[in-house]
Amino acid sequence: MNKPAYIRSTSVLTPLGLGSRVNYDFIFSGQSAVSANTKFECYVSAFDNLHATRTSTRLESMLCQAVDDAAHGADFDLTKDTALILCTTKGDIEDLQSEKALLPDLATRIAKHAGITSTPIVLSMACTSGTMGLIHAQRLISLGKAKNVVVAGGDQVSEFVIEGFRSFHALSKSRCAPYDADRDGINLGEAAAVCILSAEKGSSTNAVVGGGTSNDANHISGPSRTGDGLHLAVERALKNAGKSANEIDFISAHGTATSYNDEMESKAFALSKLDGKPIHSLKGYFGHTLGAAGLLESIMCMESLDSQSLPASLGYKTEGTSVPLQVVEKARNQMVGSCIKTSSGFGGCNAALIIEKI
């Protein structure tokens, strides 16, 4: 019953620029969007000049730009047989007191903008939202519940989220350093990402071939100490994709650069026998873009598969996890045919999905 969901078009909007290839070229050459921000008094990846307009919220305008760019690249009509999944954690949190804070309304406005006539859903699963959106889409297509699915993910940098992570003492004092011995926390970031999937292959070069999710059942704000929850999600993804660990060529991990998260991931990948695979976190380039992260990073994986190359895991210098990982230290060309994208978040949720070159 499991079927591939073909990637027909993608786009991402980050402070580095608009477009999947544009962003991939920037990160492959080592450019980061993360910098010191005087307003928030920490390092973030944020747009300099992006404001709400009279007719649309700030996040809405980010999402619409990415949707338009992705739709432009899709070679079919989105107005028919297409579902929309919006992945976000905090949406328009700055509009908390107004009705614009209701996330299904944001999804409805995005659908209208894209000409999608079906009723959209929002997936809000903390930092796994974007990855879960792709899994949900692939399964809707597998089950014949949808022919095409637009997965859109977006979150923005706000005082609300910054102060929340600051209260956890989780913000890094500089640009984050995933998996490094001296890592000291996260950078927040903002982005919109869009992936259009279809049951029909068309001219696509990649497909989502399986996914899995799990819950740690351990703690609502702390990662598992053993990694068994993420391991379960990885096992489910491999099983659904009909693959074994040794068929995976690289890992695009969550790598938030907190001490606990990266340590947990190293243990999970050891349990899944993936610890010998090249691994990177892209948080050093884009920051942690919350609900968009899994989608943005999956799209960068697709660019890796298309260009047969791997970007470096920015910020990494010295081994810093109890299970040694093969962290990609320098951007390089490499033959890659499939990868696994993983995400973990508050609430103990984990998600993993497998993307394959076809």
Binding site: I93, L96, I121, H136, K145, G164, N215, G229
Partner: protein
């Protein structure tokens, strides 16, 4: 075939499992209905209790002993109570997925946290500004490691829920799914939760069955 094994409704006036009212705050007489197992705990004043007070009263009326309950926000308390009633100490939760939904996400907790920004923000409050935390709370309580998701929809969307339940049963390798709608906003709440299983049963999981049950209190 997927069937609904059991369901429950929670709203300020009462809590019912299947058609049986387990807690009833609308009636002051135990004799008024032969089905009433636990009657209202009298409140000290005539003012309408807050959502928080009501949810704590349900917790007491159900004789639950789980101190973490008191740290949860109202949305988590609501989902927790529903799961408590449906699992009812059966312990059969090792092969379970969780798919919940609502309209307003964690908006009530978002507003509380936003107000705290003027003071010293608390991480214990911040963590509840995500709708999926209730899923985590339920998973911790019942040791559920299965698939989970939280959907936000403009209104109760039985088709979106059925699609998500089906996914988790087929691709998540589990026997049953805890699902439903939990909404907590403007000091009001409504929960409709149910357990869906693969296999034969009296109540088939269909859009019309879900829509009918959702409307019933």
């Amino acid at each position: 075939m997927i069937t609904i094994q059991s369901y429950c409704h929670i709203w300020p006036e009462g809590l019912a499992k299947n058609n049986l009212r387990l807690v009833d705050f609308s009636s002051h007489s135990a004799e008024s209905s032969g089905e009433v197992r636990l009657n209202a705990v009298e409140t000290s004043s005539n003012t309408k209790p807050s959502s928080h007070e009501r949810l704590v009263q349900f917790y007491r009326a159900l004789n639950i002993n789980y101190p973490k309950f008191h740290k949860m926000d109202n949305l988590s308390k609501l989902g927790f109570l529903g799961a408590e009633v449906l699992f009812d100490g059966s312990g059969q939760t090792d092969s379970t997925s969780v798919v919940l939904s609502n309209l307003s996400s964690s908006l009530e907790s978002d507003r509380i946290f936003q107000e705290s920004l003027n003071d010293i923000p608390s991480p214990a409050q911040f963590v509840y500004t995500l709708p999926n935390i209730v899923v985590g709370e339920i998973c911790i309580r019942h040791k559920i490691k299965g698939e989970n998701s939280f959907l936000l929809t403009s209104q109760f969307d039985s088709q979106a829920l059925i699609d998500a339940i089906l996914q988790s049963l087929i691709f998540g390798g589990v026997d049953q799914c805890l699902s439903g709608w939990i909404e907590c906003i403007n000091d009001d709440f409504y929960g409709f939760l149910f357990l869906a299983k693969s296999g034969e049963g009296e109540l088939e999981l269909t859009k019309s069955v879900l829509d009918t049950l959702y409307m019933r209190k």
